[in-house]
Assembly symmetry: C2
Homo-oligomer: 321 residues x 2
Amino acid sequence: MTDLSFLDPVEDDLRRVEAVLGEHPPEEHEAIGLALDHLIEGGGKRLRPTLVLLSAHLCDASIDQAILAAAAAEMLHTATLVHDDLIDGSLIRRGVETLNASWTPAATILTGDYAFARAAYLVAQTENMRLTQRFAETLMVICNGEIRQMFNGRYRANALMEYQRRIYAKTASLIALSAEAGAILAGDRPAEEKALRTYGEEIGTAFQIVDDVLDFVADEETLGKPVGSDLRQGLATLPVLLYVETDLGPSAVRHVLEGERSSDVVEEAVQAIITSPAIDEALTMARQHVDEAKTALDGFPDSLHRTALLGLADFTVDRHF
Amino acid sequence: MTDLSFLDPVEDDLRRVEAVLGEHPPEEHEAIGLALDHLIEGGGKRLRPTLVLLSAHLCDASIDQAILAAAAAEMLHTATLVHDDLIDGSLIRRGVETLNASWTPAATILTGDYAFARAAYLVAQTENMRLTQRFAETLMVICNGEIRQMFNGRYRANALMEYQRRIYAKTASLIALSAEAGAILAGDRPAEEKALRTYGEEIGTAFQIVDDVLDFVADEETLGKPVGSDLRQGLATLPVLLYVETDLGPSAVRHVLEGERSSDVVEEAVQAIITSPAIDEALTMARQHVDEAKTALDGFPDSLHRTALLGLADFTVDRHF
C-alpha cells in the first residue's frame, strides 16, 4: 500500500488551498468558473501545493502566504494541462473527460489563459516579489520546453540529454519551484532555498520518469489512455531510450521511432519495451534521483515536516497512479 | 495629416522599450524568438508603451521601471492578439500574415503562452507589487470578456451595455492600466492614479469605437481584411447598434444579426451601415469619450507630458489606421 502519511502535517492547510482554488471573483463568467471547478476537482494529487506547504513549515514562512503560493502552483499546473490537452488532442485525462473534448478549442484556449492569469494573480497576492518573478520564469521554461519538443523532432542522437531537458521543463521546473517556495517566502535563506530546489528538481525528475514507466506498465483503466501512448505517437521516453541503447539492431521499437505507425509494429514495439529490462532500469534511475533528493535535505534538523518531505520523495517512485 | 507629435517626448524611451522587447533570454528556443520578433516588429502603434511612459514622466516615476512596464504592456497585448487570431481564425492582421496562418495551432498556442509569461516576467522586473497584481487582474478581465462574448451570443436586448462591457474588457482595461501605470510606479498617488485611469478608460473606449467605425469605412487594403468583417460574422459593434436603434423595421442588418449569412444580404447590410448616419453618431460618441479623457487631466499642471497625453487622446479619434 502506498504511504500517504506525508500529507498529515498539512491536511488543514490543504483544505484552505482547496477553498482558495474554489473561489470565484464576482466578475468571473459562470462558464469559466464551472470549467475551472471541473478541472480542479477533477483530480491531481496536489503534489505541488503539498510541497509548497511542507517547505513553508520547514522554513518557518508565513502559512497565509504559503496557502496563496500553493494555490498559485496548482493553478499554473492546471493552466498548462488545459493547453497541453488541446495541443495533444487528448480527450481523456485520468479517466476524466478533458475540457477539450466537450468545449470548443477557442473556449479551451481562453480557459487556459484565464487560469494563467489567476495563477499570476494568486502568486502576486503573496506580495513576495521574488516568488512572483520565479513563477513567471518557470512558465517561460515550461513553454520553451514544449516548443523545443515540437520543433526539435521526437528522436535524435543526443536523445537522453534532450529527454532530461524536456522533463525538467515539463515537470521538474514547477516542482522545484514549489519545493523552494517556502524558503523564498521565509526570505534571505539561500542555503535552504538551494537545498529545497535541488530536492524538488530531483523528485520532479523521478516523478516524470515514473509517469513514463507507468505509461507502459499500468493498466489502461488507471491510465485513462492506451498503454504506451507516448511511443504510439513516436515520443521516446526513458524506457524507450534505455531499450534502444542496448538493443542496437533493427527492431520494432526503432521502426516506430523512425516513423512506422502500422498497428502491428507499434503493438510489437510497446510489448518489447514492457517485457525488457529497460523498465526496471528506468525505475532504478528514478530511485537514484529520489536518493539525491533525500540527501539534499541532510542540512535540515529532524522535524515532522522534514520527515514528510522524505516520505513524499519515496512516494514519487512507490506510487502506482 | 495625423499629428503624432505626442510621441516626441518619449522617443528615446520608446527605443529602449523596443530594445527590451527584442531581448531573448539565452534559453529561449530560436523558433519562439523569431515568432515573437515577427509579431512585435510586425506593427502596432505602441500606444500602450507610450501611455506608460508619458504617465511615468507626468508622475515623476522611475523611467527605468517604466521602460519595463511599457514593454510588459506591449507584450501582454501581443500575447492576447496571438490567441485572438487563432480563435477568430484570422489569417491576416494589418496586412501582416498572422502566426496562425504559417504555424500550427499548437505552436501558436505555446507562443501566446510564452508571451504571457514574458509579460508577467517583465512587469515583475519592475519590483512593483501593485503594478504586477494589476497586470494579472487585467488579463483576467480580458479573458473573461472574451468568454462572455463567446457564451452570451452575439446579439441581445441589452446589446449596448454588453458592447460597452465588451470593449472595456477587450481594449479599455489594458489601456487604462497603461495610463495609470506611471502613477502606480510613482507610489502613493491615489488622485493621479484615479485621474489617469479615467483618462485611459475613456481613450481606450474611444479607440475601440473608432476601430469599429474604421472596420466599415476604411479600405480593405488598410484594414488587411474585408470591410465590415465584424458584421459579416454577426458581431454587432457600435455603428450597427446605433443603426438598429433608429431603424426598427425588418432590414438586411437585422437579418444578418438574426443569423442570415447569404452574401447578397450581408453585402446589403454592410452598405446600409456605411451610408447611414450611424457612422457619424458613433464617431461623435468616440469624441465625447476623448473629451472626458482630456477633462480627467485637468488636475495636472501644464507640462510637455500632459500636452502629449492630450494630443494622444485626439489621435485616438483623428487617426485613419
